[in-house]
């Protein structure tokens, strides 16, 4: 748990406080995202937690203890730290980089190497292949995986991350975000995360703290922030498509409905079945894998083939992704599959409409 009590930071050369009387709390196990325009003080706020920046006044508590009750170095070794440019030491191998904090803590070499291998596996890199590489031999995404592994090496309870995925290309960024979220849930660690990317914040955050000019403008769960913006600044920051963005906060797993299924072999000779209902019917083969759909409104009631991305929606995806697929094909429901691509249910447009109708401020 992290708690900020009346924390203010004034840099020597500036008159305006970079962080102005900040008060907030992040529960343990929570992923708390600090977000805001550049210069809003989010990075300074983060850096005050491991005393890379010293608060001018106020108190910061980590797990109930004042961070100033420890020596700086001792505090930092107990908190994971990940930055955008990773900062791997260029003259050390990957496993030596991961072992930096354990080494500072005086772990034996054997234990350090064991831990490094364990962590490489955890972040999805093959230890045999990667442990002896140098930073210049890694891609941006790989380097950041090593960066995360390094931060986790001494089993910290708190992780500070400053735009960790900002320098990774968008495709890999999303993969990294997903994998990191899984890792965070498995380890149950608290994370304080700085970003300026709202989509990233919505995807990851248990709680979003929106800052401007060193102050907190609003702090809430992402779906609440998007539904009830506190003022005009928040409205502008989250954008006019907030209803759509908000759908990104809801997992399909919570809105899965039973689907109507038809075996492929049951179709008539011309590929129709005379289906007159308004609901689409999913056509599956013997292994219960999707083949297509029958919709009385289109294609004269004959079966329509599914493009590949429509066969891969699973419970980990969000309602936003489900809605996008509905709009793409002009249908009022989309099928959901499990890991073996077998049909397990559907998501309906009517349920999505209900979510936004029930409680979103206009």
């Amino acid at each position: 748990m992290i708690e900020f009590k009346n924390v203010t930071k004034i840099f020597p050369e500036s008159e305006r406080p970079a962080v102005d009387n900040l008060n907030f709390k992040a529960e343990s196990g929570e992923l708390c995202v600090l977000i805001g325009p550049s210069g809003c003080g989010k990075t300074t706020t983060l850096r005050m937690v491991n005393r890379m920046a010293e608060a001018t006044s106020g108190q910061i508590l980590v797990n109930g203890e004042d961070i100033r009750s420890y020596a700086k170095e001792q505090l930092r070794r107990s908190i994971g730290y990940v930055i955008q440019s990773v900062g791997l030491l260029p003259h050390l191998q990957v496993n030596e980089n991961i072992s930096l904090v354990p080494k500072l803590l005086g772990w034996e070499k054997k234990r350090r190497n064991q831990r490094a291998d364990e962590l490489l596996t955890m972040v999805g890199l093959n230890p045999a292949e990667y442990r002896e590489k140098y930073a210049h031999e890694l891609s941006g995404g790989e380097a950041q995986r090593v960066g995360v592994a390094r931060a986790l090496a001494a089993k910290p309870k708190l992780l500070l991350m400053d735009e960790p995925f900002g320098a990774v290309d968008p495709l890999r960024r999303e993969t990294l975000q997903k994998e990191f979220l899984e890792l965070q849930h498995t380890l149950g660690i608290s994370v304080l995360f700085v970003t300026h990317d709202l989509d990233e914040a919505i995807r990851l955050a248990d709680k979003i703290v929106l800052m401007s000019y060193g102050k907190i403008v609003q702090s809430d769960r992402p779906e609440q922030l998007l539904a009830h913006p506190a003022n005009e600044f928040v409205r502008q920051f989250i954008g006019a498509d907030r209803a759509l963005k908000r759908l990104g906060c809801f997992k399909i797993s919570d809105h899965l409905k039973k689907s109507y299924v038809l075996q492929h072999s049951e179709l008539g000779k011309n590929g129709t079945i005379g289906h007159k209902g308004t609901r689409p019917l999913w056509v599956v083969d013997r292994r219960n894998q999707l083949v297509g759909l029958i919709d009385s409104q289109s294609n004269n009631g004959a079966m329509i083939d599914f493009p590949t991305e429509y066969r891969q929606l699973n419970v980990q995806h969000t309602l936003k992704e489900a809605l996008s697929r509905m709009l793409g094909m002009g249908i009022s429901a989309v099928p959901v599959v499990d890991a073996q691509l077998q049909l397990i249910g559907e998501v309906r447009l009517s349920d999505i409409e209900k979510i936004n109708q029930s409680g979103i401020d206009l």
């Binding site: 491991n50 890379m52 700086k72 170095e73 001792q74 505090l75 930092r76 070794r77 107990s78 730290y81 930055i83 955008q84 440019s85 990773v86 900062g87 791997l88 030491l89 260029p90 003259h91 930096l100 904090v101 500072l104 140098y134 930073a135 210049h136 031999e137 390094r150 500070l160």
Partner: protein, 256 residues
């Protein structure tokens, strides 16, 4: 094609210095080999080999002057460089840069003449002059080496809980090692050449042969003094380059 060239290139890298080393060892151990060579080159000279002091002993003089001055300059230059890149020392950086640059503008002979009355004739004033001339490259390279460590690396290292001393020993110096050692190499090579002027104040070394050649108008002496000095510089340079290769290089980052 490319590969063939790189093998040839790498081969030559070793062949030339090794031949130089071989030649060097032969003439130091058996100066009569050098004598034969000089006779062929300067048939009109009265004498060919300087025989008042054996070549091997002149080499020892030369080596001692150069290594003592370089060792001292490395010690002072690196420590000063570290101090000038710390929080407290940063303010002194422009001052020290100016002072060391100024030192570099003094002609070495002038330094010798100026300090000889205080330190006497012989090895000491020469070592002092060489020391003063070595500081600039070593100090400059230490400073730029340490400053070339990217800020995120320092941020990450401190953020992981390194003390300032650990940052210096485990991050800054290892990353800067190659640049610093290039500075020491430059100083060493320049010193080997400059050390010949020590002979003016009676310090010994290869300069003795050259001075004798100038006094007696003997080109064979001048030439032989110059060639052994140049060979020594070449070999020292090569030796230090091999040492540098074992350090981390910032350039490796761009190779892949």
């Amino acid at each position: 094609m490319g590969k063939g060239r790189s093998i040839l290139h790498r081969g030559l890298q070793y062949v030339v210095p090794l031949l130089a080393l071989l030649f060097w060892v032969i003439i130091i151990y058996n100066p009569h080999f050098l004598e034969q060579l000089l006779k062929a080159l300067f048939p009109n000279a009265v004498e060919h080999l300087y025989e008042r002091r054996p070549l091997a002993l002149l080499f020892v003089d030369h080596l001692l002057m150069v290594s003592i001055s370089c060792l001292l300059a490395t010690l002072i230059g690196v420590l000063l460089g570290i101090f000038l890149t710390r929080g407290a020392g940063k303010d002194f950086l422009p001052l020290f840069r100016n002072v060391t640059s100024l030192l570099q503008t003094f002609p070495p002979v002038a330094v010798l003449v100026l300090v000889a009355p205080f330190l006497g004739f012989g090895v000491e004033p020469t070592i002092l002059a060489l020391f003063l001339f070595s500081i600039l490259p070593i100090l400059n390279n230490t400073i730029s080496g340490i400053r070339s460590v990217p800020p995120p690396i320092i941020d990450a290292s401190l953020g992981m809980g390194m003390t300032p001393a650990q940052l210096l020993m485990r991050v800054e110096l290892p990353v800067a090692a190659r640049v610093i050692s290039a500075g020491i190499r430059t100083a060493m090579v320049i010193n080997i050449g400059t050390a010949t002027i020590g002979a003016v104040v009676g310090a010994g070394g290869f300069g003795v042969i050259i001075i004798a050649g100038l006094v007696r108008n003997n080109s064979a002496f001048i030439f032989s003094g110059a060639i052994v000095t140049a060979l020594m510089a070449l070999i020292a340079n090569w030796f230090f380059l091999q040492l540098e290769k074992s350090f981390y290089s910032p350039r490796e980052r761009h190779e892949n």
